[in-house]
């Protein structure tokens, strides 16, 4: 999606720096350090900024990378090029181990958990005999190609920056893919993503590993740059510093990581070399000033420096329209079904003493629109959550096409061809409409993270986006396709949710208050769309408060009140049902 040109220019620029006459060698050292920090920060951008998982422990993964190559290349004499994959694998394996434990932690446990094991590992590095305890390991061989040994900071410079640029490209490719969309949806809570088949713990573990491998790469380079490792650079302070590099740069942006690394490394260097001239005296004056500047920077630009800089560039709302002639194969079940699609039998849900859904039974047959109505608090949305596996029923059963699905998680329900929208819109506001809708087609794509990084997923990806574009056109939002979902009106966002649900290629569509926030004309268009869908073979179950809308549209209506079904029938019979009138209007005095 993004243009590759700025990256090429940047790469050429970085490649040219050492050849510029008069560049002090010291600058190259700084650039080496920036590159090393940028690699780690890039992983954190994905982990923290995009995925919403804050980790203080990245320094430990740098340590795994560095110590692996240090031990193997000194004690066992392995070539550094051989230890590169091993360093990455070791970091990755520890990420799997630690990730399995940590990524399931919610919100605030996670950063603290990473802080704790980060510290624990630091002490482990400094106490283990074979890692040289506090003295570390020295006399690590340099990287070499043939007879050329990368002994100076200037010669390893290219290795570091090639690693940075390649990693940035791979990371950006990953974000701009099927897997990337799943990762970007993580931060907004897991319910919406899971409703479309995303396995959220797996996606979290994936970013965790990605970040750890990048950190391991940085550690491997670090070991061969310094040619010695000690535990200090892998401690809690370093872990914290990597995190604020990412935050200062702009935690949601790959290049923010690089920029943040440049800002922090240079700032520290400037403070260390010039501050003593201004403020002579003992102590860590630079630490004090650094800390204060950090707080000041956050107060001025809480979103980070990169997005702040980008806001000066002219806005580009380009984005090509996907080629809608590409077809995604149908999921096989749809249309053509007949008989009962969904059977709810005596479903009951209790929250403590509250019975939210009280032994409700109804069914949805092929090619019909069923409306679930009732006053606020009648248990309609809870019923939806029971059907889609977000909640599991206390008792009773729910079957799809005659198969019981009581305990199935949301990911399994959507595989059966049931997709939904939410009462409270759950879109990712900083993704475009197209990308949001494409999440709906998650299960219809097959590309994994590796093929996404290497851009082997383009054929698959083009089909997914084509399907998404088709559904967006179908609901009439073609003009908004490339806008950010968060910039749309609430009514339009609801329609985007419908397009996303349609991307599943469902046999049954569950809509939770789809008409809320729509204008009169929009409601009529929505009704027309739903009738078309029904005539095309899909069934619709909807919760709605707008009686005019429901009465004109639904084939059948189920009425809930205080969790109990009080009536069921055609709109005409429901309108005159005394129980229903009582529930809505109260008893006539």
């Amino acid at each position: 999606m993004q243009s590759r040109l700025p990256i090429l220019v940047f790469a050429a620029f970085m490649a040219a720096i050492p050849f510029v006459p008069g560049v002090p060698p010291f600058w190259i050292v700084l650039l080496d350090n920036i590159g090393l920090a940028a690699l780690v920060a890039m992983g954190l951008v994905l982990l923290t900024g995009v995925g919403g998982l804050t980790s203080f422990g990245q320094a430990a993964f740098v340590g795994f990378g560095a110590y692996t190559t240090a031990v193997l290349s000194t004690a066992y004499g392995l070539s550094p090029w051989l230890t590169l994959p091993l360093s990455l694998v070791v970091s990755g394996l520890f990420a799997v181990l630690l990730g399995l434990i940590t990524v399931r932690l919610s919100g605030h446990y996670l950063p603290l958990g990473t802080l704790a094991w980060g510290l624990g590992l630091f002490y482990l590095f400094s106490k283990l005999e074979f890692l040289g305890r506090n003295d570390g390991i020295s006399a690590i061989p340099p990287l070499s190609i043939g007879a050329f040994k990368m002994l100076s900071p200037g010669s390893i410079y290219y290795a570091i920056w090639i690693a940075v640029i390649v990693s940035a490209l791979l990371t950006m490719n990953l974000l701009d893919s099927r897997t990337g969309r799943a990762i970007r949806a993580l931060r907004r809570g897991h319910v919406a993503a899971e409703a479309f088949g995303v396995h959220t713990p797996r996606a979290k573990l994936l970013v965790f590993i990605h970040a750890a491998v990048l950190a391991g790469l940085s550690g491997w380079l670090y070991a061969h740059l310094q040619r010695a490792v000690t535990p200090t650079p892998f401690g809690a302070h370093a872990g914290i510093e990597y995190l604020f590099i990412a935050v200062v740069g702009g935690a949601g942006y790959v290049w923010g990581g690089v920029l943040g690394a440049a800002i922090v490394v240079i700032l520290k260097e400037v403070l260390q070399s010039y501050l003593p001239l201004i403020l002579p005296g003992s102590g860590q004056v630079e630490t004090i000033v650094f800390g204060i500047m950090l707080v000041a920077l956050l107060q001025l630009a809480p979103g980070g420096v990169w997005p702040w800089l980008m806001s000066f560039l002219p806005e580009r709302t380009s984005g090509r329209k996907p080629d809608t002639s590409l077809k995604l194969e149908s999921r096989g079940h749809s249309a053509g079904q007949s008989g009962v699609l969904l059977q709810v039998e005596k479903a009951r849900k209790q929250f403590g003493g509250v019975v939210a859904v009280n032994n409700v039974s109804f069914d949805v047959r092929a090619r019909e629109i069923v409306a679930l109505i009732g006053p606020n608090g009648a248990g309609k949305s809870t019923t939806f959550n029971l059907i889609t596996g977000v909640l599991s029923a206390t008792s009773g059963s729910i079957s799809v096409l005659g198969k019981k699905v009581d305990k199935a998680p949301p990911q399994e329900i959507v595989k059966l061809g049931i997709s939904r929208t939410f009462q409270h819109v759950k879109l990712v506001p900083d993704m475009t409409v197209l990308e949001n809708v494409a999440i709906g087609a998650h299960l219809r794509g097959h590309s994994g993270p590796l093929s996404s990084m290497l851009r082997l997923d383009r054929a698959d990806e083009a089909k997914l986006l084509a399907e998404a574009a088709r559904q967006i056109e179908r609901v009439g939002l073609a003009d908004q396709m490339h806008q950010l979902a968060g910039s749309l009106s609430l009514g339009q966002q609801r329609i985007v949710e419908i397009a996303r649900a349609l991307c599943v290629d469902p046999m049954l569509l569950l809509l939770d208050e789809p008409a809320a926030g729509l204008r009169h004309m929009e409601k009529q268009r929505l009704a027309t769309l739903l009738r078309e869908l029904r005539d095309g073979g899909m069934s619709v179950l909807l919760v709605e408060h707008d009686m005019g809308f429901v009465m004109n549209l639904a084939d059948r209506i189920v009425v809930l009140d205080f969790g109990t079904k009080i009536a069921e029938g055609t709109p005409a019979t429901i309108k005159t049902n005394p129980e229903v009138i009582k529930a809505y209007l109260g008893v006539a005095a």
């Binding site: 919100g107 446990y109 004090i288």
Partner: protein, 346 residues
Amino acid sequence: MNTTIMLFLLQDGITNGAIYALLGLALVLVFAVTRVILIPQGEFVTYGALTYASLAAGQMPGTAKLALALGIGAFAFDLFVARKALHARLIVRSFLTNIVLPAIVLALAIYFAAQKPPVAICIALSLVIVAMIGLYLYRIAFQPLAHTSVLVLLIASVGVHLALQGLGLLFFGAEGQRGPAVLSTAFTAGSLRFTGQSITVYAITIAFIVGLWLFFGLTLYGKALRATAVNRLGARLAGIRTTLSGQIAFLLASVIGALSGIMIVPITTLYYDSGFLIGLKGFVAAIIGGLVSYPLTAVAALVVGIVEAFSSFYASNYKEVIVFMLLIPVLLLRSLAAPAVEEEKD
């Protein structure tokens, strides 16, 4: 190993655990009310301890000057925020709390430091100084960021920690200090010797736990703090000044930190950077307590203290590894027990 050693280790562990419990409580409190993960909590500990030790040794602590400097900063922030509608009352109130108060305390510190004051005055002065630092820090560093994400607050918290640690080195030097015992009595029960100091630690910890419990359960301010913790916007709509809640939380946290420091500095030598690790162990306890439960945090802190004492006896090299790795099984249990239904956080 014999029972004497075991009892001794147990006693040592409980004393340390009590300190961790206090710090854990403060962390939970601040986090719940302001969403700030208070990394500088450790600095409150060292500041309290070293201010106390300096005063007792007849030296003028730099922290008193820092309090005045921060107070001036806080006053400037107050004026800047209210620049569109400056009332005389507001200016006077801000001037009194942010400038007059620390100036008086600074004068007192200078006066008393010259004549080796009694322990009680040292304690009182140290507490007031650190409390003011905590209060002004909230005003300057965190209040302007109150609306941002937990992550940004966390990074700001790291920045504050770095600055305070650097200042600590400036004020107190790189050498460690010890302070005079708060209570110098001691008695023996069987083979165990109880010092007045350790009894004070237990008593103060228990008093704080009960005090906080009463404060949150029975007083209007306590309830306001709890309301802020649950829902900031809702609390504001109900007329609770959330900035006031934040200030109270920071005030309590800095007092608790300073008090912990004063209680341990007679037992262990503290350096300007010792606070970080002590604070982190409070963290471990707080995490085990789930960042929400006070009694659970207190129990967890005792466990941390005892594990630390025993591992420093058996495997002193791996003491810190063991303490921090203690978390892993706890986190594992927590993640298995509650598959967290978090939603739409930002």
